[in-house]
Point group: C2
Chain length 447, copies 2
Amino acid sequence: MTTPSQWGQPRTSLFTDHYELTMLQAALHSGAAHRASVFEAFARRLPDGRRYGVVGGTGRFLEGLAEFRFGAQELDFLAHNKVVNDETLSWLADFKFSGNVYGYAEGELYFPNSPILTIESTFAQACILETYVLSVLNHDSAIASAASRMIMAAGSRPCIEMGSRRTHEESAVAASRAAVIAGFHSTSNLECGLRYGVLTQGTAAHSFTLLHDSEEEAFRAQVQSMGASTTLLVDTYDVEAAVRKAVEIAGPDLGGVRLDSGDLLAQAHDVRALLDSLGNVNTRITVTSDLDEFAIAALAAAPVDSYGVGTSLVTGSGAPTASMVYKLVSRKGTDGEFRPVAKAAKNKTSVGGKKYALRRLNPRGIATAELVGIGALPENDGNDRPLVHQFMTNGELVPGWTGQAGVQRATARHAASLAEMPGAARRLQRGDPVIPTEYLQSTPAHD
Amino acid sequence: MTTPSQWGQPRTSLFTDHYELTMLQAALHSGAAHRASVFEAFARRLPDGRRYGVVGGTGRFLEGLAEFRFGAQELDFLAHNKVVNDETLSWLADFKFSGNVYGYAEGELYFPNSPILTIESTFAQACILETYVLSVLNHDSAIASAASRMIMAAGSRPCIEMGSRRTHEESAVAASRAAVIAGFHSTSNLECGLRYGVLTQGTAAHSFTLLHDSEEEAFRAQVQSMGASTTLLVDTYDVEAAVRKAVEIAGPDLGGVRLDSGDLLAQAHDVRALLDSLGNVNTRITVTSDLDEFAIAALAAAPVDSYGVGTSLVTGSGAPTASMVYKLVSRKGTDGEFRPVAKAAKNKTSVGGKKYALRRLNPRGIATAELVGIGALPENDGNDRPLVHQFMTNGELVPGWTGQAGVQRATARHAASLAEMPGAARRLQRGDPVIPTEYLQSTPAHD
């Protein structure tokens, strides 16, 4: 596995809103900065009409947390621009996160108010992580949630992530990673291949055909150089003529053809019939061109072998960000006792206190509810699956959640969690969350 | 100015789709890789109903192009995973872009088919830049385009970019930069402050109030530590009580109060009246809470002094990506002559050849059309403003377009270009592009 510093990831400490550090300064002044505190990342709602969300980014956050330090360049910037005072600068110079991190496994499904990530530390330590926690989780979860629906729509046919050009270059790497966690077979993004060991794949672009004096010349170059198992792009000029030429040049072992425009449904049928009539029964058909989960579902009856998905994957298919928030839910008072806290403003109620969460499963192993509570875990009747894991203990990473192994584990977790869901989870139509979130108020709200 | 390598930006060369490198391999095999080629980035359409687009990302692309090299780690990855063959690996090992780059100034307005970025080089060199060019331009232009509408809606009131937590941590930096280019006054993103020298700002979060035993204690800590000119968040519990307390603690010099929930219109009126009645006529009111250009416009008559904009800015307010494409438009043939090329597939027509572009201005300096043509510039009647600049000459950067100076120049360019637009550009309602794109077919399509 490679690590963020090996691929040159910059410090992560300034991926932070100005006010996190000024709040730190004011809290250091009042002394409250050192109060033991519990912050929780959760979503009050799913994107409009979605049946479930998928946790993405936990591994990336844990990797980046190790780099969350304030070196000379960062401190100079903060000092020169008078963002914070000297007392705060020296606190930051010594900062290394030393608290506990708990949360849902990456790849797990989540629902409204699921306690997705919990940070237990001092106010000072937990406060300054807010922006970074949310940037990573909100982006990656939005992509993973959209990707999961595409995978369901695609059934057993593989999906290839191809959206890098439609999003920021670093988002593209994270989006590829999130797509693979949700079940994508591979990605076109080479940097994601390097960082996370995921399979990369590609075909060819129209420019490659246009570069050559004829489509035939282009196909011949590609087949000679890449082998007959390559995938040829057949819609630059005339699809039927291109398919005939492709088969003539590559022979019966031609790996695949790609269709990137026009009426994909009709074309897939025509091209399949043509390929079969030419004896190329094993040549696969890949379709691309602004696919989303609905377009994929609409192609279910077409003879398509794989889907390349771009724009709508990396933009979250209508929900480009998850709406997770990061709230102080519990902190010690002057009496040394933890107490839950919550603001009173309209329409933004939070439930205070550190939470546990369980997925209630019926005797057939099908999920029926998301149980969230404060305090001690209730008696387990054997069918409740605990959802909260510990990722970091006193600043030390619990192994297995990061890097390439973390991605593989998250992929497995996602598949298993999805398999537990009732059938309604597979409906693409708008609706309510597929299972309700229920609060258990069994024990008093102490930690 | 700091440079990408100083802030630890990773190599940019693998922000690339797999197929760019396999096309390179096949083109090296056929020999066509070395054909002089012109690629162009443009958008066939604006996001649905938008009146104009704003070019963002040009400076970032030029900064990253300098880092677009293939070192040992990248080459090892490509070799180990058999992405390309040895001939291609040695070509990549020697790669340093040595062509020309032309395009619209960053901050400039664009319209359907404006030639936003043109790369003139060999096919090999220009092809492998495709994904990176588009990632940067599509993301940053989407944000700049949305930000520009927010600025228009805000009129003379400053907008503060606060969306970092709603997008990938690196997108957040680029989004802040794009927002500032479009006219945002400042950002909450510290990393953007460090890299591009833009002003950072912040207030306080609800957690800061909840941390303390009372709102009064929290306000007192913030005012004592940050000074009376700070902005206090007044909607954690009861707004009226909080404003009274804030004034009591900070006195007549209290800088501002922030409202983050509820009916912002009614609250702004109430809070302004209360502040004035307490003698705090200079205390500013900042509003936040899921603002977009429409919500900002709806607050035009409210006594609001500044807007904090988050989610809808960093997600492009409904258009999270610009739909720019990067197409081979012209290349030399075996006869050594340049010829325009374009694919024939349905609904995706491109016009071949290297382009110029002019903004036609009427005698009062108001834009009336976007003129795009192939070949020699037409006679200028004195009212046409040339839009295409040269950014790189034989691989050497033309100074002035990158870093902090590049951001300042782009900000000025955007303001000047917007001032040229007819009044309809300021309409937030859906409509056609505010000026038409016209093709001039004056000269034959040679370069």
